[in-house]
């Protein structure tokens, strides 16, 4: 392996190793001190940032030639292989850089923000797992490896939403998010299977193989399902405000920066496939457009800072989907990088919103003008009222999900439960009563 390959491998693997090390030591009874945890985090991501910057420079200087790390197959059975391939190219390296920089920043911010919190160590351990999962998504050279990172990011997100687990609200919301994640992950799993067995594609490290026609449509739509779930696009947007129950630093990095853009990254990575199908690319654009409109409307009626920011974020990710569906590549990448940075800053400042407002208000001499009312004024009052209702119920998406999927499933489960209990009573049938004395005598134990 060359030095560049070693560095790419180390950058991806180190957060996972740190996570495993701290987790097992904690399970065996060792509690790492706060300062030690934050220093290790700072050190790991400072080095990782330097390493990724160097990799970007090497790739740019080498004429955009990607760094490919092939570690063989993770496991293989018959003709099926799970390739372990990492890819550092013009698409993955900016995302890796974004991840290491933001995780480092969030780590430093959280060292103060969560000081003396009972969940301090848990937060940092999960932060490392999240970083590992994210880097696995961005550096993966195969869809199978993306699934690995995808699910790690999902479970970390859910565990951080329920971070304040001594209240029931965050835990309930974490369960709802988990349901959406697991349902939408089926799209990615099935897409990987279809690509393996129909398209005979297991790795895209040497470029995405040409896929067109019906196969491109099926794979494109399945990937869109997964991307929409992870990026909270319509009709799965309902989980995003629920996810705001987690601590502010995790909201910033998950729903302002990395996790919410993971869906967009997936579509960018699979863009050659999606553009091979007019139906799939139209579906991507339509989803993005609907989300952008919904995010704009709902965000304006949100009553708390984090939810308002979440919907603003959603609207931007919708626009990014629109750009990807239209066949643009560099614009969505730049859009993601810029948006992630700005939104992270906004989320981190969210707890100080009132303080900031008073400062700006005072600086303006108490003459701060209200902004953001222009859009409302152009609509007639009845339409405004209808839109307000729509915004208050967040596009009725959660209600629809509840009525169309969750409630029928629960009813079915209860009916099956009653069916299973048919014939079950505390009275033992006669034939069993006859062998009961044998059991009471304990034939086995004498």
């Amino acid at each position: 392996m060359t030095l560049q390959q070693w560095i790419l491998l180390s950058v991806v693997v180190t957060p996972g190793a740190v996570f495993l090390g701290f987790s097992f030591l904690w399970l065996l009874g060792w509690e790492a001190p706060e300062r030690f945890l934050s220093r290790i985090t700072g050190l790991v991501y400072s080095l990782a940032t330097t390493a990724v910057a160097w990799l970007i420079w090497c790739v740019a200087a080498g004429g955009d030639h990607p760094v490919v790390v092939s570690l063989g197959n993770w496991f293989a059975v018959h003709e099926y292989e799970f390739p372990l391939v990492l890819l550092g190219d013009h698409l993955s390296l900016p995302f890796l850089a974004l991840t290491v920089v933001l995780v480092g920043v969030i780590g430093q911010f959280s060292a103060t923000y969560l000081h003396r919190d009972p969940g301090f160590a848990r937060f940092f351990i999960l932060l490392h797992l999240f970083a590992f999962g994210s880097m696995l998504i961005f550096a993966a050279g195969s869809f199978d490896l993306i699934i690995g990172g995808w699910e790690l990011v999902g479970i970390t997100s859910v565990l951080l939403i329920s971070f304040f687990h001594f209240r029931s609200g965050p835990v309930e919301n974490a369960l709802r998010v988990f349901i959406v994640y697991r349902a939408c992950d089926l799209g990615l799993i099935t897409a990987a299977f279809v690509l393996h067995h129909v398209g005979h594609v297991s790795s895209f490290a040497n470029g995405m193989p040409p896929v067109a026609g019906g196969l491109a449509t099926v794979v494109g739509l399945l990937l869109l399902l997964s991307a929409a779930g992870k990026s909270a696009q319509v009709p799965f947007s309902g989980w995003l405000p629920r996810a705001m129950e987690g601590p502010t630093p995790s909201s910033a990095i998950f729903y302002g920066a990395i996790s919410v853009h993971a869906g967009a990254y997936l579509l960018l990575r699979a863009q050659p496939i999606i553009l091979g199908s007019p139906l799939a690319s139209s579906a991507v654009m339509f989803t993005g457009l609907m989300t952008a409109v919904l995010g704009t409307i709902v965000g304006r009626a949100s009553s708390d800072a984090k939810t308002s920011l979440a919907y603003a974020s959603l609207a931007q990710v919708g626009v990014i989907f629109l750009e990807i569906g239209a066949g643009l590549t560099w614009l969505p990448v730049m859009h993601i990088l810029g948006h992630a940075m700005v939104r992270t800053l906004q989320f981190l400042r969210a707890p100080s919103t009132l303080h900031d407002f008073h400062q700006v208000h005072a600086a303006a001499g108490g003459q701060l003008q209200q902004t953001g009312k222009h859009l409302e004024t152009i609509f007639p009052p009845p339409l405004r009222l209808w839109l307000y209702r729509l915004a208050i119920d967040r596009g009725h998406l959660d209600t629809l999900l509840e009525r169309l999927i969750i409630q029928p499933l629960l009813r079915l489960s209860l009916v099956l439960g009653r069916f299973d209990r048919l014939g079950l009573s505390n009275r033992t049938p006669a034939v069993i009563r006859q062998i009961e004395p044998l059991a009471k005598q304990g034939v086995i134990n004498g």
Partner: protein, 474 residues
């Protein structure tokens, strides 16, 4: 056929029996005696495992055992796994769950199950199958007033005895030289459809495949949870399918497996849907085990190398992960003083953070989280079933996704949320419990990071099984 260097299988069967006798009659230091006996059996199985693999996966006969026992790559892993799981359960069991009767019966189940795994003779296999179920039918592991577990187990035993009887009569009337030898019976289809149907009925009853599924829930709810966990994790149903049904009845399997595979997938989904609104913690875990065990059967019946290997690896995942889950549940029940229901939050993680993490790790492995062995086995199972059943193969990932939701719901109700006012003085994992559960978690993660090792261990067994099936499907 080459021989093992020592009768490890006989020793592995006899040592727990001797331990059971000591536990029954001495009635003092029963945990120590049981742990020593289970450790002895585990050491024999480990040594046997080493010899099988150094022999390149060939079938090895037991010396001086009259052709009763043989070891190969299929049963060597099961033998090691089961003996180690029994050891874990004997160590981790709370004090109130350990007495002469319980420990002795646990060792009896261990001995009988190891005999069934190692048997090269249908009579011995049937004896192991029946004796391992006896403590659950006659005592001491009975299920209070609930009758379905006893009926389910009795039916599975009767069906197996019937099948063996039909096979023996057919083999004897055909003048077979070794009418009870598994190796000699291969491919002869003795007993035809009748024997095949009885064997499948035995497997369906034992594994709890729909419509014979309800006894598993009842058994988990009403019976002693740790012995029940040990019993279902024997996966004797799946083992007999791979050891007896596929090699003996390749022609019958050709016609019946697509239907059986569909039935197994349906059971996986049925149990997953049932678990969604279930409130009893024990029933939820039983339904998850049921669903995942059905996935194993679906993988075996998919007739693809990926599906069969996935099923054999998933057997290990389900056994290890559910041992961890049921152990934590039982430890929590003992601390809490009663059974758990998932209708309100208890917030126990603040008292038992480590037990909560062990529960989460085992649960996530069961539903295929990356970094655990479950991810690899689920991946192979999904590929295998989707290849063989493109239309309904998708039920498997759907069922797994629903299982994950049910498991997270149970985890959150038990460990998260506002603290219950009835909880006082609950302590976290004691060192004895912590080390066993840490070993389980370590295995799940270490094997998950290097799954190729485990897959390679199962490769020969899977190849033999898939070769038999692929040859008949072509």
């Amino acid at each position: 056929m080459a021989d093992l260097s020592f009768p490890y299988l006989t020793a592995a069967v006899v040592i727990p029996l001797a331990g059971a006798a000591v536990a029954f009659f001495r009635k003092a230091h029963t945990r120590a005696a049981s742990v020593i006996a289970a450790s002895g059996a585990a050491l024999c199985c480990l040594e046997l495992f080493r010899e099988v693999h150094s022999a390149g996966g060939f079938r090895l006969a037991e010396p001086w055992a009259l052709g009763l026992f043989a070891a190969d790559t299929l049963n060597a892993t099961f033998l090691v796994l089961y003996s180690l799981l029994t050891l874990c359960i004997l160590v981790v069991a709370p004090r109130r769950d350990t007495n002469a009767s319980i420990n002795g019966s646990t060792l009896l189940v261990l001995s009988a199950t190891l005999a069934a795994y190692g048997a090269d003779n249908v009579l011995l296999l049937a004896a192991g199958w029946i004796i391992s179920a006896l403590p659950f039918v006659l005592g001491p592991f009975t299920f209070n007033e609930t009758w379905r577990p006893r009926v389910g187990l009795a039916l599975s035993c009767l069906a197996l005895v019937g099948a063996i009887g039909v096979i023996a009569v057919a083999a004897l009337s055909d003048g077979a030289p070794q009418p009870f030898s598994l190796a000699a019976l291969q491919g002869h289809n003795y007993g035809g459809s009748a024997a095949f149907a009885l064997l499948i009925a035995a497997i369906v009853c034992r594994k709890g495949i729909f419509p014979a599924h309800a006894w598993i829930e009842d058994a988990a709810e009403a019976g002693p949870v740790l012995p029940f966990c040990l019993f279902i994790n024997g996966h004797l149903g799946a083992f007999i399918l791979a050891r007896v049904v596929i090699p003996e009845f390749p022609l019958s399997a050709q016609g019946a497996f697509p239907i059986l595979s569909d039935l197994a997938l349906f059971t996986a989904l049925y149990a997953a849907v049932r678990a969604v609104a279930e409130l009893s913690a024990r029933r939820i875990l039983a339904l998850l085990v049921l669903s995942q065990s059905a996935c194993i059967l679906a993988g075996l019946e998919s007739a693809t190398p990926e599906g069969i290997t996935g099923a054999l690896v998933h057997c290990i995942v389900v056994a290890v992960a559910t041992t961890g889950l049921f152990s934590v549940l039982r430890l929590m029940e003992v601390r809490f003083g009663r059974s758990f229901t998932a209708d309100h939050y208890l917030g126990l993680a603040r008292y038992t953070p480590r037990l909560a993490v062990f529960f989460a790790v085992c649960g996530l492995a069961l539903v295929g989280l990356p970094g655990t062995l479950g991810f690899c086995s689920e991946d192979l199972l999904i590929h295998g079933t989707l290849v063989s059943h493109p239309q309904i193969g998708l039920l498997l990932p759907v069922a797994t996704a629903m299982n994950a939701v049910s498991l997270f719901r149970l985890f959150s109700r038990m460990f998260l949320g506002a603290r219950s006012t009835v909880v006082h003085g609950v302590t976290d994992a004691a060192p004895r419990e912590r080390w066993v559960l840490a070993a389980i978690a370590f295995f799940i993660v270490a094997a998950g990071l290097t799954p190729a090792t485990i897959v390679a261990f199962r490769a020969n067994a899977a190849q033999d099984t898939s070769r038999a099936l692929v040859s008949i499907t072509k």
